[in-house]
């Protein structure tokens, strides 16, 4: 388990740890060190709880039980059911573009910066295992065809941020900013009308080159500079269309969206990515503040 650090800044406490393969940061406008410690413990515990429960990289959790059930139905707890229900609604809202069964496409798409673009035959084979409509989901029981998999990683980080915010609000009414690898949310407004300034990672740079000024609500960012393939001058982004199995053409490099919750912001940035060159238009239509690069 990686290290947790807590340090005093000029106007807040800063906590750092690693979870969900991301650097996580907690900024607390709190004077009392004991309270800052309790907030930090709560956030770390909740992040680790959610990671342990839903990570597809661990073999003894609900996601692996579902994926290894070999065609048998698996009963799930209320929290998992809410996440699956949510994914189901996203599938409907996005006309099938957001699909938690699409993870198996990564068996043929490996975004390592190389030129190994899969051919249509390879894609067709795995595409048979993709499609939320093929999944039997009712009465808190889920049944996948053999070989199919679900992956809640597409919403886990944002969900974890919102869960942490809810827990933090029970501890304090002072402002806390939770930032899990660029997906962030505040518990409430800061004192004196101040805002939280957060660095924004932009593609092609290891540096935070821009600053978000966040008063309230949440911001989530999709995109990854180093996950693409390049062949014959064509850049294949890591954003895959679950209906065709192909990389979405002209997907932006980075999209950030502001909304009232991190989950909502994250889902809109993900859905916008899937729109390719129409990402900006899609986000403008929702009436949400956004940054597309």
């Amino acid at each position: 388990m990686s290290e947790i650090s807590l340090s005093k800044e000029s106007d807040c406490w800063r906590g750092n740890f690693t979870a969900m393969a991301s650097p996580c940061e907690v900024l607390m406008e709190i004077d009392d060190e004991d309270l800052a410690n309790r907030v930090m413990e709560t956030v770390v515990d909740e992040a680790r709880r959610i990671e342990a429960k839903f990570s597809r990289y661990l073999d003894d959790n609900i996601v692996s039980r579902i994926n290894l059930a070999k065609g048998r139905p698996v009963a799930v707890d209320d929290e998992t059911a809410r996440l699956i229900d949510f994914a189901d609604q996203l599938y409907q809202m996005s006309d099938g573009l957001f699909d938690i069964t699409s993870g198996v496409l990564r068996r043929v798409w490996r975004f390592d910066g190389s030129d190994r673009v899969p051919n249509q035959d390879e894609i067709r084979k795995v595409l048979d295992l993709v499609g939320w409509h093929k999944v039997n989901w009712q009465n808190n029981r889920i049944k996948l065809d053999q070989g199919m998999e679900i992956d809640l990683g597409g919403l886990g980080k944002e969900y974890a941020v919102d869960c942490c915010v809810t827990l933090v609000r029970e501890l304090t009414d002072q402002s806390v900013l939770i930032n899990f690898g660029g997906d962030l949310a505040t518990s409430c407004e800061r004192r004196g009308g101040n805002c939280w300034s957060v660095g924004r990672l932009v593609t092609g740079s290891d540096q935070s080159v821009a600053l978000f000024q966040l008063y309230t609500g949440a911001i989530a960012t999709s995109g990854d500079a180093n996950r693409y393939l390049l062949k014959n001058g064509v850049r294949y982004s890591h954003v895959l269309n679950p209906k065709t199995g192909w990389s979405v053409p002209d997907a932006p490099h980075t999209i950030s969206v502001a909304a009232s919750t991190c989950t909502e912001a994250g889902m809109f940035s993900t859905l916008a990515m899937l729109q390719g060159h129409q990402a900006r238009e899609f986000l403008s239509l929702q009436g949400l503040k956004h940054w597309v690069d």
């Binding site: 996440l83 989950t263 909502e264 929702q286």
Partner: protein, 437 residues
């Protein structure tokens, strides 16, 4: 995927996932949902005008209980048909107090313009969760106007089944109404008397009790569609006449309101009896109501349809079709409304009573048990067309405006030309402001 606005759906789905009341609202403080409205109602031809301010407020008390309160004030002015039909001659009537008189010109529907009242109604519902799947709602209401007092109580039990996709509801309601009209309770089928010569009355006040029992089922059909079916049985016992409504006694020889030439009893000059008797209705009324409603969500818009069938042992059967379509205009919305209502007449609805046939010319005795010429008991058809526009404002509040035109056609059978019950046109304008407080 076609580009479309899914902001509302996403916010709702996220809310459910995070189990928060509202994304922008802090969870710890329960708040009042407040709905305020003012409604203006106006009937054509100077009949009834009403102004109705109302306020509704509800809040969660804790995780499984909530309270809803409502206060409504009605101020009515104008004139209402007194039950006598239009005649080719001028007609003179006595006001309910018995002290003065008013006259309807030849060919004019007689309207009693002393009609003016203010009603104040207050109601409260308290819902309590019994366990995870069932709840009970206790309700109480009181309504008071100048000559009327209504007190009621109700209990509603609801239970969810089938992963909360099905809800069974059963309800019981009881009301007791006391009427204390100006001039007292008129004696049925006794003549209206000339001003100053006393009122034929059987007491100062009277009452009725209303009992209703309902069973219903609400079913979630799909993510887009929900349906509801209710069946209810009700009984009203007690005084159900309209104390201000009369029926014309005609002389079948002339077709005109009876006079001395046809009847010693209705010789107004010597007896003080006008050729109109107070109406009579049965003192029990049993009814059955079937109600169906469905709400269907399209991508953004919402269709709301309901049908109601009503049947009672007075012979009134009615059908109500109601359709609303909510067009989303990216935040604000426009909602057209169409309502069709048809009704069969009550068995005892009558245009008039005929001297020598229904009424004894000497004693004034009426041979039948019940008669009323209240146009509300006639065969009729009502079409309502309306439009509502709602716009969200800051801080989860909303403003809306609604206008409706109501056209009622009364069919009182084959009656002489010029004597028909008048049709009714009315207009509704409502302003509504709702907020979270």
């Amino acid at each position: 995927m076609q580009l479309k606005n899914i902001k509302k759906k996403m916010s709702l789905a996220t809310c459910v996932l995070l189990q928060a009341a509202s994304p922008s609202v802090q969870a710890e403080e329960a708040e009042w949902d407040v709905d305020t409205a003012i409604l203006f109602y106006s009937e054509s031809d100077g009949r009834v005008n009403a102004v109705e301010p109302a306020i509704y407020a509800g809040r969660e008390l804790d995780d499984d209980s909530r309270i809803d309160l409502r206060l409504i004030v009605d101020v009515l002015t104008g004139a209402s048909p007194n039950g006598a039909h239009a005649a080719p001659v001028a007609q003179t009537f006595t006001t309910p107090s018995g002290k003065s008189s008013y006259t309807a010109k030849a060919g004019e529907t007689p309207l009693d313009d002393t009609f003016l009242d203010t009603r104040v109604a207050f109601g409260a519902d308290w819902q309590v969760g019994l366990d995870r799947l069932s709840r009970i709602t206790w309700g109480g209401n009181i309504s008071k106007e100048y000559d009327y007092l209504s007190l009621g109580a109700s209990a509603t039990y609801a239970r969810d089944f089938n992963d909360r996709n099905t809800t069974l509801t059963t309800a019981f309601a009881f009301n007791n109404d006391i009427i204390d009209p100006e001039g007292g309770i008129p004696s049925i089928f006794q003549p209206m008397r000339t001003a100053g010569s006393g009122i034929n009355r059987e007491g100062a006040d009277d009452d009725k009790s209303i009992t209703d029992f309902m069973v219903g089922v609400t079913q979630v059909i799909s993510r887009e569609t929900i349906m509801q079916l209710n069946l209810s049985f009700g009984q009203t016992d007690g005084y159900q006449n309209d104390p201000f409504k009369i029926v014309t006694i005609i002389d079948p020889a002339t077709g005109l309101p009876a006079t001395a030439s046809g009847s010693s009893f209705f010789d107004t000059a010597t007896t003080g009896n006008l050729p109109y008797v107070y109406e009579s209705r049965p003192d029990t009324r049993d009814r059955t109501v079937l109600f169906f409603k469905t709400v269907h969500h399209l991508d953004e818009d919402v269709i709301n349809f309901s049908y109601r069938y009503y049947d009672d042992d007075w012979g009134i059967k009615s059908n109500t079709f109601d359709l609303r379509y909510r067009y989303e205009l990216g935040g604000s919305y426009l909602q057209p409304h169409l309502r069709l209502y048809t009704q069969e007449a009550a068995d005892f609805y009558t245009h008039n009573l005929a001297l020598g046939i229904d009424v004894d010319p000497t004693s004034g005795a009426v041979s039948q048990d019940y008669a009323s010429n209240d146009y509300r008991l006639a065969k009729s058809e009502t079409v309502t067309v309306g439009l509502k526009y709602g716009v969200p404002l800051a801080n989860n509040s909303e403003f809306s405006i609604r206008g409706e035109v109501i056209t009622q056609t009364v069919d009182d059978g084959s009656v002489p030309e010029g004597e028909e019950a008048p049709d009714l046109d009315a207009f509704i304008l409502q302003f509504n402001y709702s907020l979270i407080w």
